[in-house]
Symmetry: D2
Subunit: 333 residues, 4 copies
């Protein structure tokens, strides 16, 4: 049974149906009706004017936004375990033409606000030192923590005071919002976020992520970055269709709630093994090598997370009922 990644999960039937429904002739690239509908749909969802650009991976979404926000000689403040820092083969630096990631510490992969301020204060304002132009936070974080609107707001205030853009990597934004039960607006633009990578692939789509700029247009250059990166699919309506399907009737929320519920059920079984609170669909648990082997022998698949620890991810197509066997197996260790 799979718990190693929501990247390996299936595609939701509604998304498959949407792909079939999109299989008729329409304009190429992103001139089709589905692509053209996204600005309006997201503007409704986020209760503000949005500019939306679809891409097929989260790495592309993060990189294009960040490249749009910083110049090659500037920097991007992020958590030292952020996906953009450790898992994207340097993509944001590639897209931005050389921008420097400036890693910061913080519990559960949330940037520590004091560390952020200290770092900013320590940068000499001259041409010798790289000057940051953006902050990037991840919601839910690499350790499955969901940001409270107030926490994002605190980062947003620093960003505003320093003239920095604020980006949110929302590869698991749905899980984070589902957990908080807040409005998507509260944890994004109302808290100072300028742009969001809104992920759908892990949550039931096939290859579909939305770059969302809040407050109208993101400005010139974004679509050039996308085209130049080879991300303007010629039959782009098939990406837009996935996003539309995920937003329809709040499928994105329903899927995230299912996964979160599975994670919560597992969390109960894990008890003291938990290394972080479970606020989305990921669990980080203490597990000896012997215990891990025992679970694997019983058919459960997951990642080791360094020595004596493991990561368990519950996907949208799993829920409390389907995770019961693993919960039982862990409880029985």
């Amino acid at each position: 049974m799979r718990f190693f990644s929501d990247n390996a999960a299936t595609v939701h039937p509604a998304v498959m149906e949407a792909l079939a429904a999109a299989n008729h002739v329409d304009t190429a690239y992103d001139g089709d009706a589905l692509s053209q509908s996204l600005d309006r749909t997201f503007s409704d969802l986020f209760e503000t004017s949005c500019e939306v650009v679809w891409v097929s991976t989260g790495t592309a979404a993060n990189s294009i936004i960040l490249a749009h926000f910083v110049r090659p000689w500037q920097g991007i403040l992020c958590h030292e375990e952020a996906h953009i820092e450790v898992d994207e083969c340097g993509a944001p630096t590639f897209y931005s033409g050389g921008a420097k990631l400036m890693p910061l510490p913080g519990r559960g992969a949330k940037i520590d606000i004091e560390a952020l301020k200290t770092r900013l204060a320590g940068i000499r304002k001259d041409v010798h030192q790289v000057q940051p132009a953006a902050i990037s936070i991840t919601n839910a974080t690499e350790y499955g923590l969901s940001w409270e609107p107030g926490e994002v707001g605190a980062i947003g205030e620093v960003a505003k005071a320093e003239g920095l853009k604020l980006h949110m990597d929302g590869a698991r934004f749905a899980n984070a919002v589902a957990y908080r039960g807040c409005s998507p607006a509260d944890v994004t633009w109302r808290a100072g976020v300028d742009a969001l990578s809104f992920g759908f692939t892990k949550n039931g789509a096939m290859m579909a992520e939305a770059i969302v700029f809040f407050g109208g247009s993101g400005g010139a250059g974004v679509r050039e970055l996308k085209k130049r990166g080879g991300h303007l699919l010629s039959k782009g309506r098939f990406v837009a269709a996935q996003i539309c399907a995920m937003l329809k009737d709040d499928l994105w929320l329903a899927n995230a709630r299912a996964a979160n519920a599975g994670a919560a059920a597992l969390a109960e079984a894990c008890g003291d093994r938990l290394m972080h609170p479970v606020e989305a669909n990921e669990l980080f648990v203490r597990l000896t090598a012997a215990e891990a082997a025992q679970l694997r022998a019983a058919g459960f698949d997951f990642y080791d997370w360094g020595e004596g620890a493991a990561r368990l991810v519950v996907s949208w197509d799993q829920d409390a009922a389907t995770v019961a066997p693993l919960a039982a197996a862990i409880a029985a260790l």
Copy 2:
């Protein structure tokens, strides 16, 4: 009726079925069974050992191959109307970290071999001038010409003599091969081609192109370029599945033959209007503004190609029968 682009065509039912069939759990990224099968499948097709990397756009395929073949301070010789030169927003320069495209003339968008030799002879071998490291040709060309194996071989010999890599942009490789009736090997590696961008999207897939390195491994760095460009889809099996479906029972050839047949039928109707021989699925025809308006009024959709000319593209889902109305309309002009 659509004749403006094969990019706007539908997806073949067999590809849709393959996507549905791939909708079960498997490893993320490109570790799945379908992705892993590609090297063998293409090696069979091309009668030599191949390394294959899937991507979702032709721009990504071209750019990754070229970036792999040249260093940032080197150049890429190509036709002055090549897609990489005029239609990719500088993507090959972006991916390569700055390589210079070196455009050459030639009829029907085939590089003129004498112009190639003259250009090469004119470059001083010093650090002031950009030294080319690759040649890129397109098959079928931007004007729908299909290369004969011997013509490719002539370019291949120059490439070999000068120590240059030879890339073939095969966005419409299927149409070119279908027209020539040759072995895919004859017009690629046997003629000196080092790597091919083998396009499937225009020919019935949804978003699937294969980077094919001939003669074993393409070497270190290709997969890093792909990941860094944001092209390593997390549910990559859905791209590999499309390619597998297109190769199964030579669907790629059948689709291309259908489109070519439609183009041939149209060509007959166009007679003297043709600006180039029709050797694939594209026609470039002389058409006055009034004639173009008349055809559009009759429901036919196509691109103007400068003044007094138009481009007509027949897609895989159109054939001789379905193009009959346009053929008749043109004949009646």
Copy 3:
């Protein structure tokens, strides 16, 4: 006797004295009094507010200005024989993070204004095609032609109408201005030039070029490009000192006039051999291989310029008198 390049010329005694005079303690980098004086000095010379940044090579000057004017996905229109296109190993593309040089024809290496307009009209305004953001012209041109203010103004009007920045590569700006006898302002900002690479090295300095932005500040980012390119010399006062010495008492004009006078004297001897009018310090002359060999045997050193032609450059430290032997030798051929 040297006629192969003004790059090989000596350094003027006044520059050597200025270096010696600068050999005392002052602030590092460009905080010293000499560096700080440049804005004012050039503002006086150009009769408008200027921001000036010193660098040590013309390639750095051109590249930093152009990188400042264009984004990586944009283009730079220039003559097909411009130094930035053929002799800088791709430096402007490197500094700009990938901008495309868009070469244009034109007699004597002056951009043909009609070719410029045609090229601009032919670019589709979409994300597929690279959109130009700057025009770069060279004065004196690669063939030693000096621009008339009105000619520059015609280019400047196109630039303004299209929203493009206009850059002038002035590696031999002194020779061009000396020939025209015009005000430096007339042939630059008054004609629409936004920034000038003002060269001093060929004209008597050791390694000193000025980036000149007209109309106040060049804007944010220039100094970062310079630092990031490794061009912020720690003992920068020694570059600024050269520039100050060259500007003092119009030494730059005196040197250029000497070289131009030498070139004019040679031109008279060359008669029908001249391939271009001589409007600066370079001559391009028809010369058979046998004639070239004969001159070389007589001790004259120069570059072949393709078959049957040669380039003769007169340097600041040569004048009408010193070129007399070559003039006589050519006349005697």
Copy 4:
């Protein structure tokens, strides 16, 4: 009295004389006799075959070497306070096309060997994580520590075992070697260093640094990186002349010994105030704001180094005698 930077020091008279002596006609760029002599001169000094490329700044030297050693998607391990990490505006990332600096801790700005091994062990060997390709160390370090040959050797062994290139930033290499009294070879290639940025500017030159590749040629591409970066000065003999003058009769060692002696004399006066051992020409001393103000009032100029600390740099043109007033002033605090 200046103690704020050796970048502000004067140029040694022998260097000024060498510049005057080089002021005759010779080939442009780096084809002149002085430039051509460098390989041999450095090969003698380092007791092995060397390829040497002159540049005018340390940032250029570091960046070109590192860009030559790593591909854009790879990383460079360095100390978290290394000049390349904190003081070059991202130049190594710029020149390399995007390589990631991977900072490590360590006392006195020497990379901690255990931290290095731990970091290397923690990197997954996949395309998601940036793989390092080089290690860069600084000698003398940012805190004025000089490496023992054995310490370098320990890093060199790790580099060799992991297939990484080892670069030494020797902006103050002369001071480090002078302190150790070792052979230049012992602390470089014999200890595993592949290339050295050998700095002369801080030590009495005007703008001259040598890129030194040990063991024959550095390989293809270095000179293209230099040209492309705008660092191939057209009158390059004036940089080569400075280097030749610095190497003649071991002027580089004499100058470094003078500066080191001055630093040692100051160190004695500083006693317990010293934050690091003084092994070159820099001192880092505890100093209250009041004490700093008192020294400045007495005419001594230096940098604050965070709160309660200061950096004092002794230059080649200062020695034990000339630093006596500051020594006395500190002793009297």
